[in-house]
Protein backbone atom coordinates (compact mmCIF):
# COMPACT_ATOMS: atom_id res chain seq x y z
CA UNK A 1 0.00 0.00 0.00
CA UNK A 2 1.30 3.38 -0.96
CA UNK A 3 0.43 6.97 -1.56
CA UNK A 4 0.26 8.56 -5.01
CA UNK A 5 1.61 11.98 -5.91
CA UNK A 6 1.31 13.80 -9.23
CA UNK A 7 3.37 16.92 -9.79
CA UNK A 8 2.53 19.11 -12.77
CA UNK A 9 1.63 16.10 -14.92
CA UNK A 10 0.99 17.09 -18.53
CA UNK A 11 0.22 14.91 -21.54
CA UNK A 12 0.16 16.54 -24.96
CA UNK A 13 -1.04 15.07 -28.23
CA UNK A 14 0.43 17.53 -30.70
CA UNK A 15 -0.58 20.90 -29.30
CA UNK A 16 -3.66 19.51 -27.54
CA UNK A 17 -3.21 18.92 -23.80
CA UNK A 18 -5.22 15.89 -22.64
CA UNK A 19 -3.81 16.45 -19.15
CA UNK A 20 -2.64 19.91 -18.22
CA UNK A 21 -0.44 20.59 -15.17
CA UNK A 22 -2.28 18.17 -12.90
CA UNK A 23 -1.25 18.03 -9.24
CA UNK A 24 -2.74 15.45 -6.91
CA UNK A 25 -1.85 13.83 -3.62
CA UNK A 26 -3.59 10.63 -2.56
CA UNK A 27 -2.69 9.43 0.91
CA UNK A 28 -2.20 5.82 1.89
CA UNK A 29 -5.48 3.88 1.97
CA UNK A 30 -7.50 6.78 0.61
CA UNK A 31 -10.27 6.40 -1.98
CA UNK A 32 -10.15 9.23 -4.49
CA UNK A 33 -12.42 9.60 -7.51
CA UNK A 34 -11.54 11.44 -10.69
CA UNK A 35 -14.75 12.91 -12.01
CA UNK A 36 -15.25 14.71 -15.29
CA UNK A 37 -17.23 14.76 -18.53
CA UNK A 38 -16.33 12.62 -21.52
CA UNK A 39 -13.00 13.67 -23.03
CA UNK A 40 -11.86 15.54 -19.94
CA UNK A 41 -8.72 13.41 -19.66
CA UNK A 42 -9.66 10.91 -16.94
CA UNK A 43 -8.45 7.81 -18.78
CA UNK A 44 -5.36 9.68 -19.92
CA UNK A 45 -4.48 10.48 -16.32
CA UNK A 46 -5.06 6.90 -15.19
CA UNK A 47 -2.97 5.44 -18.01
CA UNK A 48 -0.12 7.80 -17.06
CA UNK A 49 -0.25 6.55 -13.49
CA UNK A 50 -0.46 2.94 -14.65
CA UNK A 51 2.57 3.41 -16.89
CA UNK A 52 0.72 2.60 -20.12
CA UNK A 53 1.64 6.08 -21.33
CA UNK A 54 4.41 8.56 -20.56
CA UNK A 55 3.71 12.15 -19.52
CA UNK A 56 5.05 14.96 -21.70
CA UNK A 57 6.20 16.66 -18.51
CA UNK A 58 5.73 16.42 -14.76
CA UNK A 59 6.51 13.68 -12.27
CA UNK A 60 4.60 10.72 -10.81
CA UNK A 61 5.40 9.17 -7.42
CA UNK A 62 4.00 5.95 -5.97
CA UNK A 63 4.96 5.21 -2.38
CA UNK A 64 7.52 8.00 -2.53
CA UNK A 65 9.29 6.32 -5.47
CA UNK A 66 9.59 8.31 -8.68
CA UNK A 67 7.95 6.05 -11.28
CA UNK A 68 7.66 8.62 -14.07
CA UNK A 69 9.82 6.53 -16.36
CA UNK A 70 9.08 3.10 -14.90
CA UNK A 71 7.30 0.52 -17.07
CA UNK A 72 3.79 -0.73 -16.26
CA UNK A 73 5.32 -4.02 -15.13
CA UNK A 74 7.46 -2.31 -12.49
CA UNK A 75 4.66 -0.39 -10.82
CA UNK A 76 2.76 -3.14 -8.96
CA UNK A 77 -0.67 -1.71 -9.78
CA UNK A 78 -4.07 -3.37 -9.86
CA UNK A 79 -5.96 -2.20 -12.94
CA UNK A 80 -9.65 -2.62 -13.80
CA UNK A 81 -11.33 -1.40 -16.99
CA UNK A 82 -14.98 -0.88 -17.86
CA UNK A 83 -14.65 -3.59 -20.52
CA UNK A 84 -13.45 -6.09 -17.85
CA UNK A 85 -10.49 -7.09 -20.07
CA UNK A 86 -10.48 -10.66 -18.77
CA UNK A 87 -8.31 -13.22 -20.54
CA UNK A 88 -10.99 -14.92 -22.68
CA UNK A 89 -9.17 -18.25 -23.05
CA UNK A 90 -8.62 -18.77 -19.32
CA UNK A 91 -11.02 -19.90 -16.62
CA UNK A 92 -11.96 -17.61 -13.74
CA UNK A 93 -9.36 -19.28 -11.52
CA UNK A 94 -6.64 -19.07 -14.19
CA UNK A 95 -7.38 -15.38 -14.66
CA UNK A 96 -6.87 -14.74 -10.95
CA UNK A 97 -3.77 -16.97 -10.84
CA UNK A 98 -2.14 -15.03 -13.71
CA UNK A 99 -0.48 -12.24 -11.68
CA UNK A 100 0.69 -14.81 -9.13
CA UNK A 101 2.28 -16.94 -11.86
CA UNK A 102 4.10 -13.88 -13.16
CA UNK A 103 5.43 -13.37 -9.62
CA UNK A 104 6.59 -17.01 -9.45
CA UNK A 105 4.02 -17.83 -6.78
CA UNK A 106 2.61 -21.27 -7.54
CA UNK A 107 1.18 -24.44 -6.09
CA UNK A 108 -0.97 -24.52 -2.98
CA UNK A 109 0.06 -20.99 -1.94
CA UNK A 110 -1.18 -19.46 -5.22
CA UNK A 111 -4.32 -21.55 -5.14
CA UNK A 112 -5.13 -20.37 -1.63
CA UNK A 113 -4.54 -16.69 -2.48
CA UNK A 114 -6.66 -16.92 -5.65
CA UNK A 115 -9.53 -18.67 -3.89
CA UNK A 116 -9.42 -16.12 -1.06
CA UNK A 117 -9.62 -13.28 -3.57
CA UNK A 118 -12.57 -14.94 -5.31
CA UNK A 119 -14.29 -15.40 -1.96
CA UNK A 120 -13.74 -11.72 -1.26
CA UNK A 121 -15.74 -10.81 -4.36
CA UNK A 122 -18.29 -13.58 -3.64
CA UNK A 123 -17.46 -15.69 -6.69
CA UNK A 124 -16.44 -18.92 -4.98
CA UNK A 125 -17.94 -21.84 -6.87
CA UNK A 126 -17.45 -20.31 -10.31
CA UNK A 127 -13.69 -21.01 -10.55
CA UNK A 128 -13.99 -23.32 -13.55
CA UNK A 129 -16.16 -21.04 -15.70
CA UNK A 130 -14.87 -19.05 -18.64
CA UNK A 131 -15.49 -15.28 -18.84
CA UNK A 132 -18.01 -15.80 -21.66
CA UNK A 133 -20.11 -17.88 -19.27
CA UNK A 134 -20.44 -15.08 -16.71
CA UNK A 135 -22.75 -12.07 -16.38
CA UNK A 136 -21.31 -8.56 -16.64
CA UNK A 137 -21.35 -8.10 -12.88
CA UNK A 138 -19.61 -11.44 -12.33
CA UNK A 139 -16.98 -10.64 -14.96
CA UNK A 140 -16.23 -7.36 -13.25
CA UNK A 141 -15.86 -9.20 -9.93
CA UNK A 142 -13.30 -11.51 -11.54
CA UNK A 143 -11.44 -8.48 -12.83
CA UNK A 144 -11.44 -7.03 -9.31
CA UNK A 145 -10.20 -10.28 -7.77
CA UNK A 146 -7.42 -10.47 -10.37
CA UNK A 147 -6.46 -6.86 -9.62
CA UNK A 148 -6.13 -7.33 -5.85
CA UNK A 149 -4.92 -10.94 -5.48
CA UNK A 150 -1.23 -9.93 -5.61
CA UNK A 151 -1.60 -7.14 -3.02
CA UNK A 152 -0.89 -4.23 -5.38
CA UNK A 153 0.44 -0.95 -4.04
CA UNK A 154 -2.47 0.93 -5.55
CA UNK A 155 -5.74 0.10 -7.30
CA UNK A 156 -6.80 1.98 -10.45
CA UNK A 157 -10.37 1.61 -11.71
CA UNK A 158 -11.50 3.13 -15.01
CA UNK A 159 -15.31 3.34 -14.98
CA UNK A 160 -15.49 -0.21 -13.61
CA UNK A 161 -19.26 -0.16 -13.23
CA UNK A 162 -20.06 1.84 -16.35
CA UNK A 163 -21.32 -1.14 -18.36
CA UNK A 164 -23.70 -2.43 -15.68
CA UNK A 165 -27.36 -1.61 -15.18
CA UNK A 166 -28.36 0.76 -12.44
CA UNK A 167 -29.39 -1.70 -9.74
CA UNK A 168 -26.34 -3.89 -10.18
CA UNK A 169 -24.16 -0.80 -10.25
CA UNK A 170 -25.46 0.36 -6.90
CA UNK A 171 -24.96 -3.11 -5.45
CA UNK A 172 -21.39 -3.29 -6.70
CA UNK A 173 -20.65 0.22 -5.46
CA UNK A 174 -21.32 -0.98 -1.93
CA UNK A 175 -19.20 -4.08 -2.46
CA UNK A 176 -16.39 -2.10 -3.99
CA UNK A 177 -16.35 0.29 -1.05
CA UNK A 178 -16.30 -2.62 1.42
CA UNK A 179 -13.53 -4.37 -0.49
CA UNK A 180 -11.45 -1.23 -0.52
CA UNK A 181 -11.96 -0.78 3.25
CA UNK A 182 -11.11 -4.39 4.00
CA UNK A 183 -7.90 -4.26 1.99
CA UNK A 184 -7.06 -0.69 2.87
CA UNK A 185 -5.59 -0.26 -0.59
CA UNK A 186 -5.02 3.24 -2.00
CA UNK A 187 -7.63 3.56 -4.74
CA UNK A 188 -8.16 5.89 -7.67
CA UNK A 189 -11.49 5.51 -9.45
CA UNK A 190 -12.49 7.19 -12.69
CA UNK A 191 -16.12 7.92 -13.41
CA UNK A 192 -18.39 10.43 -15.08
CA UNK A 193 -21.26 9.44 -12.77
CA UNK A 194 -21.40 12.12 -10.10
CA UNK A 195 -23.57 10.06 -7.75
CA UNK A 196 -21.00 7.29 -7.81
CA UNK A 197 -18.25 9.77 -7.08
CA UNK A 198 -20.12 11.36 -4.20
CA UNK A 199 -21.12 8.07 -2.60
CA UNK A 200 -17.83 6.16 -2.82
CA UNK A 201 -14.99 8.54 -2.30
CA UNK A 202 -13.08 10.10 0.54
CA UNK A 203 -12.26 12.90 -1.85
CA UNK A 204 -13.11 13.73 -5.43
CA UNK A 205 -11.08 15.46 -8.09
CA UNK A 206 -13.14 17.27 -10.70
CA UNK A 207 -11.48 17.43 -14.09
CA UNK A 208 -12.40 19.47 -17.15
CA UNK A 209 -10.43 19.83 -20.39
CA UNK A 210 -7.43 18.18 -18.76
CA UNK A 211 -7.33 20.69 -15.90
CA UNK A 212 -8.06 20.17 -12.22
CA UNK A 213 -11.13 22.18 -11.19
CA UNK A 214 -11.31 21.15 -7.55
CA UNK A 215 -10.05 18.50 -5.16
CA UNK A 216 -12.22 18.18 -2.07
CA UNK A 217 -14.36 15.89 0.07
CA UNK A 218 -17.68 15.08 -1.66
CA UNK A 219 -19.83 17.22 0.62
CA UNK A 220 -17.46 20.15 0.35
CA UNK A 221 -17.29 19.99 -3.44
CA UNK A 222 -21.07 19.74 -3.58
CA UNK A 223 -21.86 22.59 -1.19
CA UNK A 224 -18.79 24.77 -1.80
CA UNK A 225 -17.93 24.31 -5.49
CA UNK A 226 -14.74 26.04 -6.55
CA UNK A 227 -16.32 27.42 -9.72
CA UNK A 228 -19.35 27.37 -11.99
CA UNK A 229 -18.21 24.21 -13.80
CA UNK A 230 -18.00 22.18 -10.58
CA UNK A 231 -21.31 23.60 -9.35
CA UNK A 232 -23.08 22.54 -12.54
CA UNK A 233 -21.33 19.22 -12.94
CA UNK A 234 -22.11 18.03 -9.40
CA UNK A 235 -25.86 17.83 -9.27
CA UNK A 236 -28.27 20.67 -10.00
CA UNK A 237 -27.17 24.23 -9.34
CA UNK A 238 -29.42 27.27 -8.88
CA UNK A 239 -27.48 30.41 -9.63
CA UNK A 240 -28.75 33.45 -7.74
CA UNK A 241 -27.58 37.03 -7.46
CA UNK A 242 -25.84 38.06 -4.27
CA UNK A 243 -26.28 41.54 -2.73
CA UNK A 244 -22.64 42.34 -3.51
CA UNK A 245 -23.26 41.76 -7.23
CA UNK A 246 -21.54 38.36 -7.35
CA UNK A 247 -23.17 35.05 -8.27
CA UNK A 248 -24.01 32.36 -5.74
CA UNK A 249 -25.15 28.77 -5.97
CA UNK A 250 -28.00 27.19 -3.97
CA UNK A 251 -28.67 23.47 -4.06
CA UNK A 252 -32.30 22.39 -4.78
CA UNK A 253 -32.79 20.73 -1.38
CA UNK A 254 -31.96 24.05 0.31
CA UNK A 255 -34.88 25.73 -1.40
CA UNK A 256 -37.97 25.73 0.85
CA UNK A 257 -41.63 26.43 0.20
CA UNK A 258 -42.97 29.18 2.45
CA UNK A 259 -46.34 30.62 3.36
CA UNK A 260 -47.68 33.06 0.81
CA UNK A 261 -46.20 36.53 1.14
CA UNK A 262 -43.09 35.39 3.05
CA UNK A 263 -40.76 34.29 0.28
CA UNK A 264 -40.34 35.00 -3.39
CA UNK A 265 -43.42 34.36 -5.52
CA UNK A 266 -43.04 31.69 -8.19
CA UNK A 267 -45.01 29.55 -10.62
CA UNK A 268 -44.65 25.76 -10.81
CA UNK A 269 -43.48 24.86 -14.35
CA UNK A 270 -42.89 21.17 -13.86
CA UNK A 271 -43.25 18.74 -10.96
CA UNK A 272 -41.17 15.59 -11.31
CA UNK A 273 -41.91 12.74 -8.97
CA UNK A 274 -38.71 10.85 -8.07
CA UNK A 275 -39.88 8.41 -5.39
CA UNK A 276 -38.68 9.82 -2.12
CA UNK A 277 -38.48 13.34 -3.54
CA UNK A 278 -40.36 15.67 -5.81
CA UNK A 279 -38.32 17.98 -7.99
CA UNK A 280 -39.99 21.26 -8.93
CA UNK A 281 -38.88 23.46 -11.78
CA UNK A 282 -40.06 26.92 -10.79
CA UNK A 283 -40.22 30.23 -12.62
CA UNK A 284 -39.55 33.16 -10.30
CA UNK A 285 -40.95 36.54 -11.15
CA UNK A 286 -38.39 38.33 -13.25
CA UNK A 287 -37.54 35.49 -15.61
CA UNK A 288 -35.28 33.58 -13.20
CA UNK A 289 -35.74 29.85 -12.78
CA UNK A 290 -35.04 27.73 -9.72
CA UNK A 291 -35.14 24.02 -9.01
CA UNK A 292 -36.40 22.84 -5.64
CA UNK A 293 -36.23 19.29 -4.28
CA UNK A 294 -38.54 18.47 -1.38
CA UNK A 295 -39.44 15.18 0.34
CA UNK A 296 -42.61 13.63 -1.06
CA UNK A 297 -45.21 13.48 1.71
CA UNK A 298 -48.30 12.37 -0.18
CA UNK A 299 -49.29 15.60 -1.95
CA UNK A 300 -47.51 17.74 -4.46
CA UNK A 301 -47.96 21.11 -6.13
CA UNK A 302 -49.33 20.94 -9.65
CA UNK A 303 -47.83 22.71 -12.68
CA UNK A 304 -49.23 26.22 -13.02
CA UNK A 305 -49.81 26.59 -9.29
CA UNK A 306 -48.57 29.79 -7.61
CA UNK A 307 -46.19 29.23 -4.70
CA UNK A 308 -43.63 31.09 -2.59
CA UNK A 309 -40.05 29.93 -2.04
CA UNK A 310 -37.04 31.07 -0.03
CA UNK A 311 -33.58 29.98 1.06
CA UNK A 312 -31.16 30.93 3.82
CA UNK A 313 -28.41 33.30 2.83
CA UNK A 314 -26.03 30.89 4.64
CA UNK A 315 -26.94 28.25 2.03
CA UNK A 316 -25.73 30.39 -0.84
CA UNK A 317 -22.12 29.73 -1.85
CA UNK A 318 -20.44 32.42 -3.94
CA UNK A 319 -18.88 31.24 -7.20
CA UNK A 320 -17.05 33.00 -9.96
Amino acid sequence: MSDIRLEGVTKRYGTFAAADQVDLSVTQGEFVTILGPSGSGKTTLLSLIAGLNRPTSGRIFIGGRDVTNATAQERNIGLVFQSYALFPHMTVLENVLFPLGVRKIGGAEADRLARDALKLVRLDGLEARRPSQLSGGQQQRVALARAVVFKPDILLLDEPLGALDRKLREELQVELKQLQRTLGVTTLLVTHDQEEALSLSDRIMVLDKGRTQQVAAPAEAYLKPANRFVAEFLGIANFVDLPDGRNGVVRPERVRFTAEGQGRPARVVEAIYLGQMVRYHLALDGNQSVVAAVPFLGTAHAPGERVSVSWESADVWPVT
Binding site: L52, Q73, S83, H89, F98, P99, V102, R146
Partner: protein, 272 residues
Protein backbone atom coordinates in the same frame (compact mmCIF):
# COMPACT_ATOMS: atom_id res chain seq x y z
CA UNK B 1 -27.41 -5.99 -47.40
CA UNK B 2 -30.90 -4.63 -47.83
CA UNK B 3 -32.79 -4.92 -51.08
CA UNK B 4 -32.88 -1.17 -51.48
CA UNK B 5 -29.12 -1.05 -51.30
CA UNK B 6 -28.77 -3.30 -54.34
CA UNK B 7 -31.26 -1.46 -56.47
CA UNK B 8 -34.95 -0.84 -56.51
CA UNK B 9 -36.18 -2.64 -59.58
CA UNK B 10 -36.75 -6.35 -59.86
CA UNK B 11 -35.00 -6.30 -63.24
CA UNK B 12 -31.81 -5.00 -61.71
CA UNK B 13 -31.90 -7.80 -59.17
CA UNK B 14 -32.54 -10.45 -61.80
CA UNK B 15 -29.74 -9.09 -63.93
CA UNK B 16 -27.36 -9.22 -60.99
CA UNK B 17 -28.41 -12.78 -60.16
CA UNK B 18 -27.83 -13.87 -63.74
CA UNK B 19 -24.39 -12.27 -63.75
CA UNK B 20 -23.54 -13.96 -60.46
CA UNK B 21 -24.57 -17.38 -61.76
CA UNK B 22 -22.66 -16.83 -64.99
CA UNK B 23 -19.56 -15.87 -63.00
CA UNK B 24 -19.83 -18.96 -60.83
CA UNK B 25 -20.22 -21.26 -63.86
CA UNK B 26 -17.34 -19.52 -65.58
CA UNK B 27 -15.12 -20.20 -62.58
CA UNK B 28 -16.18 -23.79 -61.90
CA UNK B 29 -16.41 -25.21 -65.43
CA UNK B 30 -12.62 -25.52 -65.84
CA UNK B 31 -12.49 -27.43 -62.55
CA UNK B 32 -15.34 -29.70 -63.59
CA UNK B 33 -13.56 -30.48 -66.84
CA UNK B 34 -10.04 -30.87 -65.52
CA UNK B 35 -10.86 -33.35 -62.77
CA UNK B 36 -12.48 -36.08 -64.95
CA UNK B 37 -9.81 -35.52 -67.58
CA UNK B 38 -7.10 -36.36 -65.08
CA UNK B 39 -8.63 -39.82 -64.68
CA UNK B 40 -8.73 -40.37 -68.43
CA UNK B 41 -7.09 -43.33 -70.10
CA UNK B 42 -6.56 -41.42 -73.35
CA UNK B 43 -3.14 -40.34 -74.51
CA UNK B 44 -4.32 -36.88 -75.57
CA UNK B 45 -6.47 -34.30 -73.81
CA UNK B 46 -10.00 -35.31 -74.73
CA UNK B 47 -13.27 -34.53 -73.05
CA UNK B 48 -15.22 -36.47 -71.99
CA UNK B 49 -12.63 -39.19 -71.21
CA UNK B 50 -13.19 -42.48 -73.13
CA UNK B 51 -12.50 -44.61 -70.02
CA UNK B 52 -11.05 -44.12 -66.55
CA UNK B 53 -7.55 -44.89 -65.28
CA UNK B 54 -4.89 -43.62 -62.89
CA UNK B 55 -2.11 -43.63 -65.51
CA UNK B 56 -1.47 -39.88 -65.35
CA UNK B 57 -1.14 -40.02 -61.60
CA UNK B 58 1.32 -42.87 -62.00
CA UNK B 59 3.24 -40.86 -64.56
CA UNK B 60 3.33 -37.89 -62.21
CA UNK B 61 4.52 -39.78 -59.14
CA UNK B 62 6.93 -41.85 -61.20
CA UNK B 63 8.63 -38.88 -62.84
CA UNK B 64 11.69 -37.74 -60.82
CA UNK B 65 11.52 -34.25 -62.36
CA UNK B 66 7.95 -33.78 -61.15
CA UNK B 67 8.94 -35.12 -57.73
CA UNK B 68 11.88 -32.71 -57.65
CA UNK B 69 9.54 -29.81 -58.51
CA UNK B 70 7.16 -30.99 -55.80
CA UNK B 71 9.97 -31.02 -53.27
CA UNK B 72 11.19 -27.54 -54.29
CA UNK B 73 7.68 -26.11 -54.08
CA UNK B 74 7.04 -27.67 -50.68
CA UNK B 75 10.40 -26.56 -49.31
CA UNK B 76 10.01 -22.97 -50.54
CA UNK B 77 6.38 -22.79 -49.37
CA UNK B 78 7.21 -24.22 -45.95
CA UNK B 79 10.08 -21.83 -45.23
CA UNK B 80 8.65 -18.72 -46.87
CA UNK B 81 5.21 -19.12 -45.27
CA UNK B 82 6.73 -19.34 -41.80
CA UNK B 83 9.00 -16.36 -42.52
CA UNK B 84 6.04 -14.37 -43.90
CA UNK B 85 4.00 -15.34 -40.84
CA UNK B 86 6.62 -14.08 -38.41
CA UNK B 87 7.50 -10.89 -40.32
CA UNK B 88 3.91 -10.09 -41.35
CA UNK B 89 2.64 -10.85 -37.85
CA UNK B 90 5.15 -8.52 -36.22
CA UNK B 91 4.45 -5.82 -38.82
CA UNK B 92 0.69 -6.12 -38.36
CA UNK B 93 1.09 -5.93 -34.58
CA UNK B 94 3.34 -2.88 -34.78
CA UNK B 95 1.04 -1.12 -37.24
CA UNK B 96 -2.14 -1.84 -35.29
CA UNK B 97 -0.75 -1.07 -31.85
CA UNK B 98 1.84 1.59 -32.57
CA UNK B 99 1.26 5.33 -32.77
CA UNK B 100 4.51 6.38 -34.43
CA UNK B 101 4.99 8.90 -37.21
CA UNK B 102 4.89 7.57 -40.77
CA UNK B 103 2.72 4.60 -39.87
CA UNK B 104 0.52 4.91 -42.95
CA UNK B 105 3.58 5.15 -45.13
CA UNK B 106 5.03 2.00 -43.55
CA UNK B 107 1.76 0.14 -44.00
CA UNK B 108 1.55 1.15 -47.66
CA UNK B 109 5.10 -0.08 -48.16
CA UNK B 110 4.32 -3.49 -46.66
CA UNK B 111 1.12 -3.87 -48.68
CA UNK B 112 2.71 -2.79 -51.97
CA UNK B 113 3.39 -6.31 -53.36
CA UNK B 114 -0.35 -6.94 -53.25
CA UNK B 115 -1.25 -3.79 -55.14
CA UNK B 116 1.59 -3.30 -57.61
CA UNK B 117 1.15 -5.48 -60.74
CA UNK B 118 2.92 -8.80 -60.16
CA UNK B 119 4.97 -8.43 -63.33
CA UNK B 120 6.52 -5.25 -61.93
CA UNK B 121 7.32 -6.95 -58.64
CA UNK B 122 8.86 -9.77 -60.66
CA UNK B 123 11.11 -7.40 -62.61
CA UNK B 124 12.05 -5.53 -59.44
CA UNK B 125 12.94 -8.77 -57.67
CA UNK B 126 14.86 -9.97 -60.71
CA UNK B 127 17.04 -6.87 -60.66
CA UNK B 128 17.42 -6.79 -56.87
CA UNK B 129 18.27 -10.48 -56.52
CA UNK B 130 20.73 -10.24 -59.41
CA UNK B 131 22.44 -7.38 -57.63
CA UNK B 132 22.99 -9.39 -54.43
CA UNK B 133 23.83 -12.58 -56.33
CA UNK B 134 20.78 -14.56 -55.29
CA UNK B 135 19.19 -14.85 -58.72
CA UNK B 136 18.38 -18.47 -59.53
CA UNK B 137 19.06 -19.62 -55.97
CA UNK B 138 16.75 -21.38 -53.57
CA UNK B 139 17.36 -18.66 -50.98
CA UNK B 140 16.38 -15.98 -53.51
CA UNK B 141 13.15 -17.89 -54.20
CA UNK B 142 12.37 -18.09 -50.48
CA UNK B 143 13.06 -14.37 -50.02
CA UNK B 144 10.80 -13.46 -52.97
CA UNK B 145 7.92 -15.67 -51.82
CA UNK B 146 8.22 -14.33 -48.28
CA UNK B 147 7.94 -10.79 -49.59
CA UNK B 148 4.91 -11.64 -51.73
CA UNK B 149 3.04 -13.26 -48.85
CA UNK B 150 3.73 -10.72 -46.11
CA UNK B 151 0.73 -8.56 -47.18
CA UNK B 152 -1.61 -11.56 -47.05
CA UNK B 153 -0.50 -12.37 -43.51
CA UNK B 154 -0.77 -8.72 -42.51
CA UNK B 155 -4.32 -8.50 -43.79
CA UNK B 156 -5.54 -11.57 -41.95
CA UNK B 157 -3.69 -10.87 -38.70
CA UNK B 158 -4.31 -7.11 -38.87
CA UNK B 159 -8.05 -7.72 -38.63
CA UNK B 160 -7.59 -10.18 -35.78
CA UNK B 161 -5.31 -7.85 -33.83
CA UNK B 162 -7.61 -4.89 -34.29
CA UNK B 163 -10.49 -6.92 -32.91
CA UNK B 164 -8.51 -8.07 -29.89
CA UNK B 165 -9.08 -5.49 -27.12
CA UNK B 166 -5.76 -3.81 -26.43
CA UNK B 167 -6.77 -3.30 -22.82
CA UNK B 168 -6.46 -7.04 -22.27
CA UNK B 169 -2.78 -6.72 -23.11
CA UNK B 170 -2.44 -3.59 -20.99
CA UNK B 171 -3.93 -5.37 -18.00
CA UNK B 172 -1.46 -8.24 -18.48
CA UNK B 173 1.43 -5.74 -18.44
CA UNK B 174 0.07 -4.04 -15.35
CA UNK B 175 -0.14 -7.45 -13.66
CA UNK B 176 3.61 -7.71 -14.21
CA UNK B 177 3.79 -9.76 -17.40
CA UNK B 178 6.54 -8.82 -19.84
CA UNK B 179 5.75 -8.08 -23.48
CA UNK B 180 6.98 -11.50 -24.59
CA UNK B 181 5.11 -13.35 -21.85
CA UNK B 182 1.91 -11.46 -22.69
CA UNK B 183 2.42 -12.34 -26.35
CA UNK B 184 2.84 -16.05 -25.63
CA UNK B 185 0.29 -16.51 -22.86
CA UNK B 186 -2.41 -14.00 -23.76
CA UNK B 187 -2.28 -12.70 -27.34
CA UNK B 188 -1.24 -15.78 -29.34
CA UNK B 189 -3.65 -18.24 -27.70
CA UNK B 190 -6.50 -15.91 -28.62
CA UNK B 191 -5.27 -15.27 -32.16
CA UNK B 192 -4.35 -18.90 -32.87
CA UNK B 193 -7.18 -19.52 -35.39
CA UNK B 194 -6.21 -16.42 -37.38
CA UNK B 195 -2.52 -17.31 -37.20
CA UNK B 196 -3.35 -20.74 -38.63
CA UNK B 197 -5.44 -19.14 -41.39
CA UNK B 198 -2.68 -16.67 -42.25
CA UNK B 199 -0.11 -19.47 -42.40
CA UNK B 200 -2.30 -21.57 -44.74
CA UNK B 201 -2.90 -18.56 -47.02
CA UNK B 202 0.82 -17.84 -47.16
CA UNK B 203 1.61 -21.50 -47.86
CA UNK B 204 -0.92 -21.69 -50.72
CA UNK B 205 0.19 -18.29 -51.96
CA UNK B 206 3.73 -19.55 -52.29
CA UNK B 207 2.79 -22.96 -53.69
CA UNK B 208 0.63 -21.37 -56.42
CA UNK B 209 3.02 -18.59 -57.40
CA UNK B 210 4.17 -18.73 -61.03
CA UNK B 211 4.94 -15.28 -62.43
CA UNK B 212 7.68 -14.13 -60.09
CA UNK B 213 9.01 -17.68 -59.85
CA UNK B 214 9.39 -17.93 -63.62
CA UNK B 215 11.51 -14.80 -63.59
CA UNK B 216 13.86 -15.58 -60.74
CA UNK B 217 13.96 -19.34 -60.13
CA UNK B 218 16.63 -20.05 -62.76
CA UNK B 219 17.22 -23.80 -63.00
CA UNK B 220 14.84 -24.54 -60.11
CA UNK B 221 11.44 -25.89 -61.09
CA UNK B 222 8.42 -25.44 -58.88
CA UNK B 223 5.18 -27.30 -59.59
CA UNK B 224 3.26 -24.40 -61.17
CA UNK B 225 6.31 -23.27 -63.13
CA UNK B 226 6.79 -26.78 -64.52
CA UNK B 227 3.06 -27.00 -65.35
CA UNK B 228 3.31 -23.80 -67.31
CA UNK B 229 6.42 -24.94 -69.16
CA UNK B 230 4.89 -28.34 -69.98
CA UNK B 231 1.82 -26.63 -71.41
CA UNK B 232 4.01 -24.52 -73.67
CA UNK B 233 6.08 -27.47 -74.89
CA UNK B 234 3.45 -30.11 -75.49
CA UNK B 235 -0.04 -30.83 -74.27
CA UNK B 236 0.47 -33.63 -71.74
CA UNK B 237 -2.40 -35.01 -69.63
CA UNK B 238 -0.06 -35.31 -66.62
CA UNK B 239 -0.76 -31.70 -65.78
CA UNK B 240 -4.46 -32.44 -65.35
CA UNK B 241 -3.47 -34.90 -62.62
CA UNK B 242 -1.23 -32.26 -61.03
CA UNK B 243 -4.01 -29.69 -61.30
CA UNK B 244 -6.47 -32.05 -59.63
CA UNK B 245 -4.02 -32.72 -56.80
CA UNK B 246 -3.52 -28.95 -56.32
CA UNK B 247 -7.27 -28.34 -56.31
CA UNK B 248 -7.79 -31.09 -53.72
CA UNK B 249 -4.99 -29.73 -51.55
CA UNK B 250 -6.32 -26.14 -51.74
CA UNK B 251 -9.89 -27.16 -50.99
CA UNK B 252 -8.79 -29.23 -47.99
CA UNK B 253 -6.58 -26.44 -46.65
CA UNK B 254 -9.33 -23.82 -47.02
CA UNK B 255 -11.83 -26.18 -45.42
CA UNK B 256 -9.44 -26.53 -42.48
CA UNK B 257 -9.21 -22.73 -42.24
CA UNK B 258 -12.98 -22.34 -42.40
CA UNK B 259 -13.39 -25.01 -39.74
CA UNK B 260 -10.87 -23.47 -37.35
CA UNK B 261 -12.16 -19.90 -37.84
CA UNK B 262 -15.76 -21.06 -37.65
CA UNK B 263 -15.13 -22.86 -34.39
CA UNK B 264 -13.58 -19.68 -33.03
CA UNK B 265 -16.67 -17.77 -34.16
CA UNK B 266 -14.57 -15.57 -36.36
CA UNK B 267 -15.77 -16.67 -39.77
CA UNK B 268 -17.85 -13.63 -40.55
CA UNK B 269 -15.18 -11.14 -39.49
CA UNK B 270 -12.32 -12.43 -41.60
CA UNK B 271 -12.66 -11.86 -45.30
CA UNK B 272 -11.70 -15.17 -46.88
Amino acid sequence: MSREAIGGSAWTRRGLAAMGIFGLVFLTVPLVIVIPMSFSSARALTFPPPSLSLRWYETFFGDPRWMEAMWTSTFVAAISSVAALILGGLAAYGLRRGTFKGRDWAEGNFMAPLIVPTIIVAIALYLALAKVGLLGSLLGLVVAHTLLNVPLVMMVLGVAIREFDQRIEQVAWSLGASWGYTMRKVVLPNLAPSVFAAWIFAFIGSFDEVIVTSFIAGKYETVPKKMFNELVLEVNPTITAVATLLIAFTVLALAAVAFVLGRAGKLKETVV
